[in-house]
Symmetry: C2
Subunit: 394 residues, 2 copies
């Protein structure tokens, strides 16, 4: 009953170059790119079925309206065999069906198709007016670098954890990481608004610990609180953040929902948003598309993703494609900072920098925190190694 070939096992290296948005002349359609596991004899029918599923959700014979047949029904644009049993299918979907709303865009791209186990949403190509409408990062790579005075170097990031610590312990860690010169010190994505470390008090205490460290060192470390909950809660927390003079937050778009994520990036344009991949899954929505393109489209200034060789299973090729989708030229959108993470260590810094270059934020959490009382020194070693890596060697 279930197909055996998972389309997720194919690499996403042949990703459409984001530098080439469709010209306005075909602006009425966006292109959804699916990977479908299928016999060659069945693929044309599968492609047509998905074009209907993702548009009118009816057999063509049940559609009476000429307007719907011409302007709304999905169009199979191309079917290409990637390897035996795996096909790439490009389907044109009417832009008008998205209602210019992020949730409805996802619904059109993958709403019902997400329930088909042998279909992966691999990529999307959007006309220029959709890029302009959604708007992308408010700050992006340049803004994140500028606010910590980093010039053109790679950035460093670390995390406050484990959850379960009280706010004063978290604030102490934040101060130590700031003294070590980490650019962005973020909450663990598990820190929400729990009784043992309530949000509002945590923000104040960690922000002040980082401020104090910055005054001592002359540094510009940013404390990055994790915001959670529904749109009301997200806004309330953003106001706490802004009131404390902070300008960067962490958010999990696949938990908050993409409509709320987009709403807050537009409502708080002075805040930089670092997107965390929690609940993003890996199997059915291509990571370069979701974490690279779509999070960027909706306003992520940086996007955290599991680096190859860590605790997760992304390949180097997936990581490279994801990073480039986040930061390569794409219409008028600002580049989004790729932030490889997930079991990284100081020893891997040179390798990671060679791989991603300097338009990157390196996120090292647990392996710094394991240094315990030597945390500030370990953080400093991390910051120094990253800052000095691309400098000319004497």
């Amino acid at each position: 009953m279930l197909t055996r070939i998972s389309p997720s096992k194919a690499e996403y290296t042949e990703f459409s170059t984001p530098s080439d948005p469709q010209p306005a002349s075909v602006a009425s359609r966006l292109i959804a790119v699916y990977r479908i596991a299928s016999d060659a004899s069945a693929i044309e029918g599968r492609a047509e079925a998905i074009a209907l599923e993702q548009s009118v959700e009816l057999p063509l014979s049940a559609v009476d309206s000429d307007v719907v047949l011409q302007d709304i029904v999905g169009e199979v644009r191309d079917v290409r065999e990637l390897r035996a049993g795996l096909f790439e299918v490009r389907i044109g979907l009417a832009v008008s069906t998205t209602g210019s709303e992020p949730g409805q865009l996802m619904n059109m791209l993958f709403g019902n198709a997400s329930i088909l186990e042998d279909v992966t949403l691999a990529d999307v190509e959007l006309p220029a007016e959709m890029l302009t409408h959604f708007g992308g990062p408010n700050h992006g790579i340049d803004g994140l670098r500028a606010r910590v005075g980093a010039g053109n170097r790679a950035l460093t990031c670390s995390a406050l954890k484990p959850q379960g610590l009280r706010n004063d312990d978290l604030a102490r860690l934040a101060g130590q990481l700031a003294r070590g010169g980490i650019d962005y010190v973020k909450d663990d994505h598990g820190l929400a608004d729990q009784a043992y470390s309530p949000f509002a008090a945590r923000v104040v205490m960690c922000a002040r610990a980082v401020s104090e460290a910055n005054r001592e060192t002359g540094g510009a470390t940013r404390y990055v609180p994790n915001i959670t909950g529904n749109l009301d809660t997200l806004r309330t927390q953003l106001r706490v953040v802004a009131d404390e003079g902070l300008d960067t937050v962490l958010v999990e778009p696949m938990i908050s929902g993409l409509p709320d994520f987009h709403a807050i990036t537009r409502a708080f344009p002075h805040i930089a948003f670092i997107a965390h991949p929690a609940m993003s899954g890996a199997a059915r929505l291509a990571p370069p598309l979701l974490l690279g393109k779509l999070f960027r489209l909706l306003g992520a200034d940086a996007t955290i993703f599991p680096n190859h060789g860590g605790r997760f299973s992304y390949s180097p090729e997936t990581c490279r494609t994801l990073a480039n989708a986040a930061r390569d030229a794409w219409g008028g959108l600002r580049p989004c900072m790729p932030a490889p993470a997930g079991g990284m260590t100081l020893q891997r810094v040179p390798e990671i920098l060679d791989f991603y270059g300097d338009r990157t934020m390196l996120l090292v959490g647990g392996s710094l925190l394991a240094a315990k009382e030597r945390l500030t020194d370990e953080a400093r070693a991390f910051a120094t190694r990253v800052a000095g890596y691309f400098e000319p060697h004497g």
Copy 2:
């Protein structure tokens, strides 16, 4: 690099009975149940790694605090081999880490683990106080039956589509389906707030068409608008719905985000919410858990899911488990109405009713609409067949 066995291929038939919430004495932990594809020799280590990933996200050696070690670190409670290479792992997670918030609950259950391709979230067991806190359906099966005067019979549902039709065409379809005696006439989940059928006008026109049909027939058909967007938009649309005197809506919780979904079920307790599975995927979060249990926990009065033998690939066992998770006794939560859908036809009504019994809402869309000018008759045949099926045969 990627494992070859997908845990999603296992059936979810050994689902924990929802009638047995944990007693208060173990209230401080919820149980997350994972399916992990692994070699037998590695599974203990994998289980421990996931217990850490989903709690402190640190190696144990990096955790200093006794409180965190005792109260926060995930505990592997059981590891069981389901078949060669596939294991069920039960992990106790601290209730306190969820902050009693739906998004953070999902984050704790599957945030980072969702990125591990060989791990599926199969089930969850929640202590009684979490059921009480989230609250579940406001109306559920009894309420949905009562508002259409259905007594104890199965319910019928159909959908307005294709998208791209104008509001007057949609309203005409709504009237025809209502005249045929369908209980719930819902928007297609692709109907959002598009230029060609704007929400507010659609609600008014379809509601009035259904009212008029009800006045003629003496029926109690409900029109069910699809609400979309961020929390602000959802609330605005719900106010339009309530102002028009409607009492039931369709919503896509995996697109709106679970925090917003829960927020609106609590803020609009007089409205019944039918949950649509768009973007729910199928592979990594067990459908009975997500569409049955979790949507119910957060307030779905009915839950739509792809029936076996239709356009999607759920097996009969998955469907039965899902339906029972939605409606079996679970603490004090009201039962949620299972609504099998996805390529259903009138011919299948007896089989579907035999399979699901009368605490079911049958959703037939496209195959009714294919009747075109005979839509009212076809709708009446559907309604009559369902209403009469369990009556004693003379």
